[in-house]
Amino acid sequence: MRAGQVLRPKRPRSFQITLTLSTVAVLVFLVGSSLRPWSPKRGLGLAFGVLAALLFVVEMLYPARRPRARPFRSAMGWLQFHVHAGAFALVAALVHTGFRLPSGRLGWWLLALSSWTVATGLLGVWLQKWIPASLAEGLRVEAIYERIPSLVDELRAEADRLMQGAGDVLERFYRSEVRAPLAAVNRSWAFLLDVRGGRERALEPFRRVAQFVDAGERQRVLDLMSIYTEKMELDAHYSLQGILRGWLVLHVPAAGLLMGLLAVHVFSWFWY
């Protein structure tokens, strides 16, 4: 998948709306701040703060899309809203501050967390476009994440069966170089850049061994190679599907913390 495809919005219309709203928000700030000093505590500054806070709260409702995706027509509508409203919420928060750096510790935390949450959200968008395309284009095998360890066990058992009665050379090669990597799922970040990465290098020893065995054994080597290739594909699936699940660790706790601090911020504004 090319970078251009990854950057292309899934629903260009939603992207255009977000971009327009963000531009309007910045223009409002520019005009407003030129007329009178901009303050987050009153007037338009406060309005943008309220808007950003409300949007962040609505963003937290994303898990409520199930079971019927209401009020949107589909879960896809929900996700699109989640992504674009989240991005706009950050713009609204920045307009609220008047594009000035915070003065207090709470302000810094709020700015850092909202930026982090939006950035990790956008990272998630990128991963969710990049990884599925890589998996679909680069691999033949398709597997359900939770089943991959058991599928790997099955492959190893199949390889063991295949090697029963194999000649000395092949048997030694299998025991020393193949069985251990076949035994468990190997995760690697490298698959993120190249889903078939390292495959040729890993298969090279098989090709060499095939030259030293007789014609009868050669088919066995080819079958073993096919099992090994499948195992590498499962490794890639496990690594990348793991990343697709794991990135939420970067996004969700920060979003939760942001909600907490936002509540403190709103409460302190009312109180003081």
Partner: protein, 510 residues
């Protein structure tokens, strides 16, 4: 949930029915008039072959043999006694033609408030039963009569309920037996054809959208003059380049439509129940622009050139419609020749059996994040138990999960002992009623794609074992938003399609 007693009673009734079925003896069969059309020399061999598919059944008064709306793969020959045939009044049937949906997001069912006519695609392939001239009547069939053969051969729902009038002795002939008999005995074939012509052909012709505006008298004449033809799998119906002399209407099975391109053969589309072919050649009096080949046991109605011309002369509207169809077909032919990839999709669908499906779930793996929200959505819609697995065949970047295809000919519905698996006439969704399912597993065994799964429940049988019930995708029938697997996919990767909708297939799969 049905009470354990109810289910036990249904189970016992099924077991009793199975006990009543006894393999037929060759000596008994040989003497039956059913086999009289087979030449003396070949008769023993045919009887021996057919015997595997024939069982003797003895029933008592009031017992139901066939239920209206069910699918059946058997014909019943009355050996002794009589049966009562009860046909529902036509008033109880839907007044519009049932249509086959491609997208299947919004079915033409009152259960879905959002149903719109423009969501329906494909020609009016009627799923109506073949009630024939007997609608609203009760009829008695005695010894020597046969019933259920049309439903079994054409795979239409049974059009009447049949009950035993007293003690009745029947021969249940399964579909392979029926096919053997029709192939070996010309007289038997003639007998079946005459009955089909007499009872059902008029209704069948009238239910085809193309002929829906024809007057009864015209249909009647067509009924007398049309020829009924059967083709074995792989048999050529018409060869491209040969002079066209007939118009064909499909009454059962699937027919491949292809064009020759060099030494290879490009699939353009396929025909199924209610579809027709021949207009492209007959309207311009040219040779066949396509080859028609039976994909399975195909039953066709052949209308001669002269009758066809009479019809088009009498009904200009019909001719216009045929022209439109002819242009569309010739366009599809040109597209197939220009872009052989499109043909590959149809070919793949034929080879994998996807053509049988009216609503096949596909997942685009290049956008699917494997979040399983489709499965969760399905589980949410079905009391926590999903009706499909996100595993299955892979074609290019598409996954074809093990979810019910909602087949045009749902073989799973044949021989359900309690009628628990049903498809309401005029609708698409094949559903299982968990209250009357006894967990016999017939449907799961019959589904060629393994899309019906037996799931353990908390209910226990009298022997202490847990009751297993059949479950399958029902397209979320009661869900106004349509199938949850499609609606709840956050990336729009899940789609439901019919391979008959070639434009959409090409748009998606390219």
């Amino acid at each position: 949930m049905a009470s354990a007693t109810q289910r036990a009673e249904l189970l016992e009734r099924h077991a009793r029915r199975l006990r009543l079925m006894v393999p037929a003896e060759a000596a008994d069969l040989r003497e039956l008039p059913l086999f009289s059309g087979i030449p003396e020399k070949a008769r023993d061999k045919v009887v021996e072959k057919v015997r595997r598919y024939v069982h003797k059944v003895e029933l008592t008064a009031g017992e139901t043999i066939l239920r209206e709306g069910d699918y059946s793969d058997s014909a019943f020959y009355v050996v002794a006694g009589s049966v009562e045939v009860v046909l529902a009044s036509q008033a109880g049937r839907p007044d519009t033609l049932a249509r086959v949906r491609g997208g299947a997001h919004v079915p033409p069912s009152p259960a879905r408030p959002g149903a719109k006519a423009d969501n329906l695609i494909g020609r009016g392939a009627s799923l109506l039963g073949v009630a024939g001239d007997l609608a609203g009547e009760r009829k008695q069939l005695g010894a020597g009569e046969i019933f259920g053969e049309m439903s079994a051969l054409s795979r239409y729902p049974v059009s009447a309920t049949v009950r035993a009038e007293g003690v009745v002795s029947l021969l249940q002939i399964r579909l392979p037996g029926l096919r053997l008999l029709t192939a070996t005995s010309k007289e038997f074939k003639k007998f079946l054809d005459s009955r089909y012509r007499e009872r059902s052909l008029a209704l069948h012709l009238g239910s085809v959208e193309l002929f829906s505006k024809l007057e009864a008298s015209v249909i009647e004449r067509l009924k007398q003059r049309a020829e009924l033809v059967s083709f074995e799998p792989g048999q050529i119906v018409e060869q491209e380049g040969e002079q066209a002399s007939a118009f064909y209407l499909v009454r059962g099975g699937f027919v491949k439509v292809s064009v020759a391109a060099g030494s290879s053969d490009l699939a353009v589309t396929y025909l199924r129940k209610g579809d027709y072919a021949g207009e492209s050649a007959l309207l311009v009096d040219q040779a066949w622009p396509f080859t028609l080949q039976a994909l399975d046991h195909a039953e066709l109605v052949k209308i001669g050139k002269a009758e066809f011309r009479e019809l088009t002369a009498r009904y200009p509207g019909l001719e216009d419609e045929l022209w439109r169809e002819a242009v569309a077909r010739l366009k599809a032919r040109a597209v197939a020749l220009e872009n052989p990839t499109q043909s590959e999709y149809v070919q793949m669908a034929m080879e994998t059996g996807l053509i049988h499906g009216d609503s096949v779930l596909l997942i685009d793996l290049s956008t699917c994040t494997r979040c399983d929200d489709c499965v969760r959505g399905c589980a949410d819609a079905h009391a926590g138990v999903p009706r499909f697995v996100r595993e299955g065949q892979k074609y290019r970047n598409w996954l074809i999960p093990t979810a019910c295809y909602q087949c045009t000919d749902p073989v799973c519905m044949m021989e359900c002992p309690t009628g628990a698996i049903t498809r309401a006439i005029g609708t698409l969704e094949v559903t299982i009623n968990e209250k009357t399912c006894i967990g016999c597993g017939n449907c799961a065994e019959r589904c060629p794609w393994g899309n019906i799964v037996m799931i353990e429940t908390q209910e226990r049988r009298s022997d202490g074992k847990l009751v297993e019930l059949a479950t399958k995708c029902d397209l979320c029938l009661t869900r106004p938003q349509g199938p949850a697997c499609v609606q709840m996919c956050p990336h729009g990767s899940s789609v439901r399609i019919s391979f008959k909708d070639l434009d959409r297939v090409t748009q998606l799969l390219r």
